[in-house]
């Protein structure tokens, strides 16, 4: 009896979490004529809304931009953060503890404080409407450094020494010993970074104005808010679907890491 109530609550909650997305997918597939109210399966499905999105806004270009930005940010965060994480975990040098303290401190700075000066910096660098503006300020993450350091610290020093004896330089040790041994950490850092970068909307809105340089969330926001969608619900939902499909695919693929990685670090965007 008690179990039944439990399931009832959980199912109701789960439905409320999933339903909006189903509705969105449904609306995006419905023909333009009957957008608005209506029940499921009331009409046949069509891709015309998706066609319309591609016709009305350069969504293909936005997808490309988002992919370039999110992938290069992710690659850079993984590479540089693991580099620093390795140095902090396994190399001895003067100032190591200071650097580590700085990493921890930067995590405490509210982003709102540096947002405007960062924007002015981008303007001065002449990076407005360019990929560097979207990538460079997020190339290394303190969160990534921290995760890598914690992971690397538990890898025995023996392995480093063995690798050095066997002829590895430090970079080689990082890439061919530490990386393969820290796959969960790499995946965690990777997906958190990818997700944040893919979904980020405030920063692109600040540094990108040209339509060809817009990322997906920005494009869809301006499309929706700017009224370009002409109030066509189906088209708007189709555009939104295009934004969430890649992240949903990544989610389906890495589900375990997604949830556990994020839970273990307690960090998100």
């Amino acid at each position: 009896m008690k179990k039944l109530a439990l399931y009832l609550i959980l199912i109701c909650a789960a439905v409320s979490f999933i339903y909006p997305f189903l509705w969105m997918a449904f609306i995006s597939l419905r023909s333009v004529g009957d957008a608005g109210a209506g029940s499921f399966l009331s009409s046949f499905f069509t891709l015309q809304n998706y066609k319309a999105v591609f016709m009305e806004i350069p969504i293909g270009r936005a997808l490309l931009n988002s992919a370039i930005v999110a992938l290069s940010t992710t690659a850079s965060v993984i590479f540089f953060s693991s580099l620093v994480g390795y140095a902090l975990a396994k190399l001895r040098f003067n100032g190591r503890e200071t650097v580590f303290m700085i990493v921890l401190l930067t995590m405490m700075i509210p982003g709102q404080l540096t947002l405007i000066p960062l924007y002015t910096l981008i303007v001065r660098l002449g990076w407005i409407d360019a990929y560097p503006a979207l990538i460079a300020p997020w190339m290394i993450s303190a969160m990534g450094i921290l995760i890598f350091r914690q992971t690397f610290i538990s890898i025995p020093d023996d392995l480093i020494e063995a690798a050095r004896m066997e002829g590895c330089g430090e970079l080689r040790i990082l890439t061919s010993i530490f990386w393969p041994l820290s796959k969960p950490a790499m995946v965690t850092v990777g997906i958190i970074t990818f997700m944040n970068s893919w979904n980020e909307v405030l920063w692109p809105m600040m540094v990108v104005r040209r339509q060809e340089m817009m990322t997906m969330p920005q494009m869809i926001t301006t499309f929706s808010v700017g009224g370009q969608s002409g109030g066509e619900l189906g088209v708007e939902m189709a555009a939104s679907m295009l934004l969430i499909i890649p992240i949903l695919a990544a989610y389906a693929f890495f589900q375990k890491y997604f949830i556990e990685g994020i839970a273990s670090t307690g960090i998100k965007g």
């Binding site: 303007v123 002449g126 407005i128 104005r209």
Partner: protein, 415 residues
Amino acid sequence: MRTIFFTILFLFFAGSSGAIELTYWTSSNPEEIELGRLLVSQWNQSHPDVQVKMQPIPATQSSEEVLLAAIVSKTTPDVCSNILPAIMGRFTKSKAVLALNAFPDYEKVVIGRTGSKLADLFRSRDGKLYQVPWKCNPVMLVYNTAIFRALGLKPPKTYSDFSKAAETIAADRDNPGRWAMAVSIKTTWWQRLFDFYPFYVAATGGRTLLCNDSAAFNGPGGVAAMTFFRDGFKKRYFPMLGFSGNIFLEGKTAMDVAGPWAIKYYRRLKPGFEFDFAPIPVPDSYKGPVYTYGDPKNIVIFATTKYPKQSWEFVKFLTSKEADLKLLELTNQVPMRSGIVSDPFYGGFFDKNPLLRKAARQAQYVVPMDESQHLVQILDIISGQFEAAAVYAVITPEKALAIAAKKTQALYDYW
């Protein structure tokens, strides 16, 4: 095949022989892009040594923002024809634009075309002219002639007329739920250029928002205009909801506020739709010509140009008699050319397009916006107070305008 080859060869040599290239930015609406393409190709054919490259300003952001960003990054074009005069204050302050007085034939060209009365409106505070007055879109009342005919209405001239018309529309049993006029409840600053501001200009007989760096809008005219909207929302003449799509085109409202640029837009979206323009309604006590906001767009030459002379020649070409006709034909916007209504050169066009004759007549009674670095913020302040006093009616129009005036004052006091 061979011709293509020679053409390429020619272009190659032409290019390498040092033909000057000018960059020209236009507005991004399809009509103006078409106009730009036509004029640029004409120019390029007749001027092989000065080639112009045209580029529409990206559509998603406001042109002002794009231009400001370009100034910051020093990537401004040579010539731009989509300049909101109100924003010129910041352009001149940052020395981003050329003073056109420097060109010897400037008087002849600009004053000769626009007339000194209108041209003076765009004169900068230092007495120089940095912009060539180009075209305007007098903001007017546009009404659905089918509905008006069916209900036996005439376009309202005064607020009382408007009320009566609105009551008639509301009482129409065949079309329940139809509103009198579409007014946006969004608070984006430029929305007020299509409701409060033109009504304010009309009610004050052509005054602008500011006078000597101080708010001028909280006088009787401003209160009258604000009260007009407050009453309209209160009596449900205007729909009080965020709507998508164009409800005027859909026949859900009988009137809208728009400029002549809308003619092409309406015809494209809904062929056969019947509409007409009328002056903005004024308070019952108002006498005199009805002014409105002209929504002017001007042409400037940016200081980054390497070829001021060639740019100036191109600007003259853009504002020539023939170009102005093309402007009328392709975009249905009104060149700021004095005497255009009576000029037989354009007579044929106006005969075919009586709506534009109306717009061109109205164009004689237009004002721009004030040239102020705070203009956007002042409109934003007014917009917020419009929402409070008119849309939600939580404070009186007098109070709202007083607050807006005070906030405007604070801007000048602090910055």
